[in-house]
Symmetry: C2
Subunit: 361 residues, 2 copies
């Protein structure tokens, strides 16, 4: 088998696999990169046991075949290849030769038969532009739990329905939800947060459509050039809708970025344990203050408010900063009382909603 | 005491101290930042026990005084201050108030009497443009040892003489030397490599002159706005001149960057222990190859050579890559044989010289 491929194409393909293929593994064959040649394309694969990925690259090919090479070494070699083209040549049972400019290398190979078969589900469970799926996950990912307790919250729930795709994450103290209107068949899945990060990393810049397919506890996302399969978590989120407050006593509009920056500054002085900041909402201004071992900080921001003349609520500053993260422009803060959950919405992006539970006084 | 200072000026001054002041210490007072006000200047200090630094910033002041504030908290607050100006106000025995834009903070302070006195030597042991001193150290720093064995090699030796300033570092297997012509009184000092890094970090962009002064085992570098004192190592390097070869059997000229890149590529295949690469010098080309567990790599580079028609020498690739680091443009490689030290010189910068000992065949 022989292949000629632009270095840039190959390097971009490998960069998608680089974080998925482990550099060490109790099953050492997983540290190898399977390279497969079919007509006019080079197919690269990798798995970390949770996420399987297949990348198909257009290339000039001769013959076909399959070989395993040490992945980390191959990544390094391609990254530093001096030429604009990379040529790979494999003669039966020999080393893989890689040539680029004045540089050449003979890489030891391993029998590909021992490599586990990666199973990508087929079927059409709906289509979505890859980058939009990544965007929906990114908006809510921060709220996923890192605690062992209530393990299901360590995932991101994807809810498909004829109304659209909804992504949800929560750790019990906060919740983030993002809605993308589109038509899908009804289904709920929970993707482990780390695998959700891989989906974002691989698909965030891809404007092509991916097809959803679910089989045997795995979600496959497939496009012309990429197929990714992630193991799903068992179960689904408990009914989170009931923590989303419905009645409000006060509502305020603020610039999201100014609020975020201000919270960051004042939080420097907050106590190290719960990052407590006190927010005093009044009709024309918000006063943020915090006090900890090293002193006290205070800042005032302008706002527009309706409802009660004044309300004091305390939060974990980091939770508020995280919840404001996906909001550009204006945030609508809807308060249901000093100890009831607060709702944050992006005025310019109706799909996003966050709930933060205040700290007890 | 009261002071008004542009945020940028203050933040730049603090950034110099930020790495020196420890965030934790067995002597907790060292984690505080001493702030002193004198006429039209704000003086900030810090020490990690090895390196003392004093930064003098121009400022609008009223009154004088001295106070200790928690350093990490102060760094964070100033970095995130929203205004262009920062105002500090201290009333007798109270908290330090910091104001910037709509943000204000009351920082707890500590009695400054417990803070150790930083001793900066006076005297004129010669002057040098700060950035040039940093440059000389940077050129040789890589060759300093990291081994416990022969501790003196864990420093950078500075040799002052009427001929100039010479910086030298070695770990016994390689040596780097940099000469800056200038007139200084004769003296040899060894600066611990980590403190040498701090000298580089603080002075690398400073075009002002610093004055050398040595007293009681410390070197002080002083300019109008900065004073730094570093503890010196005891002793001096053994006679390293004798490892610098004098007779050569072959000499080659190559583009330093091309050689460095080529070594990086081929070294990916070298064995993990000694990074062995074989260099075959001939009259018109250099062939680099390496072989390890994962295969073999090879690359050919053009060169101009005189002397023997051909010579094969093996090196630790990393040592060669490091030695080429400070060389821009052309490198002159002077070979004294397959097992004798090799000399590398920068054709465009005569001050730099490196010696690399080949690996045994």
């Amino acid at each position: 088998m022989e292949v000629r491929i632009p270095k840039r194409t190959l390097a971009e393909g490998l960069s998608l696999l680089e974080r998925i293929i482990p550099s060490r593994s109790s099953n050492p064959i997983l540290t190898y990169l399977p390279i497969e040649l079919s007509e006019q394309s080079l197919i690269l694969r990798g798995t970390n046991g949770e996420v399987d990925l297949e990348v198909k690259l257009p290339a000039e090919t001769q013959g076909s075949g399959r070989v395993l090479v040490p992945a980390q070494t191959f990544f390094q070699i391609v990254r530093s290849a001096p030429g604009e083209l990379v040529e790979l040549v494999l003669r039966e049972g020999e080393r893989l030769e890689l040539r680029s400019g004045a540089f050449s290398t003979q890489l030891s190979t391993t029998n590909p038969d021992g490599y586990p078969e990666l199973l990508f589900a087929l079927g059409d469970g709906g289509r979505i532009v890859a980058a939009r799926l990544a965007q929906a996950i990114t908006r809510v990912r921060y709220a996923a739990s890192t605690e062992e307790y209530r393990a299901i919250f360590r995932g991101v729930q994807l809810e498909m329905s004829p109304q659209g795709l909804r992504a949800v994450a929560s750790d019990g103290y906060r919740l983030a939800r993002y809605d993308l209107p589109m038509e899908l068949s009804t289904r709920k899945l929970v993707v482990p947060a780390k695998s959700a990060d891989e989906i974002v990393r691989v698909f965030k810049d891809k404007e092509e459509e991916v097809v959803f397919a679910v089989r045997e506890g795995s979600l496959t996302l497939g496009s012309d050039s990429l197929r990714m399969s992630v193991k799903l978590m068992e179960g689904e989120f408990p009914d989170y809708e009931r923590v989303i407050p419905q009645g409000f006593v006060m509502e305020a509009l603020l610039k999201a970025e100014a609020l975020r920056e201000s919270l960051r500054r004042v939080a420097v002085l907050s106590d190290r344990n719960n990052h407590r900041v006190n927010l005093l909402f009044s009709r024309e201004s918000l006063t943020i203050d915090a006090e900890g071992d090293y002193g006290r900080g205070r800042e005032e921001l302008p706002l527009e408010a309706t409802g009660e003349p004044q309300l004091m609520v305390a939060y974990n500053a980091q939770y508020l900063i995280d919840a404001l993260g996906p909001i550009e422009g204006t945030v609508r803060v809807r308060l249901s009382g000093p100890t009831s959950p607060t709702l944050l919405q992006a005025v310019e992006d109706e799909g996003y909603l966050a709930v933060v539970v205040p700290l007890r006084v």
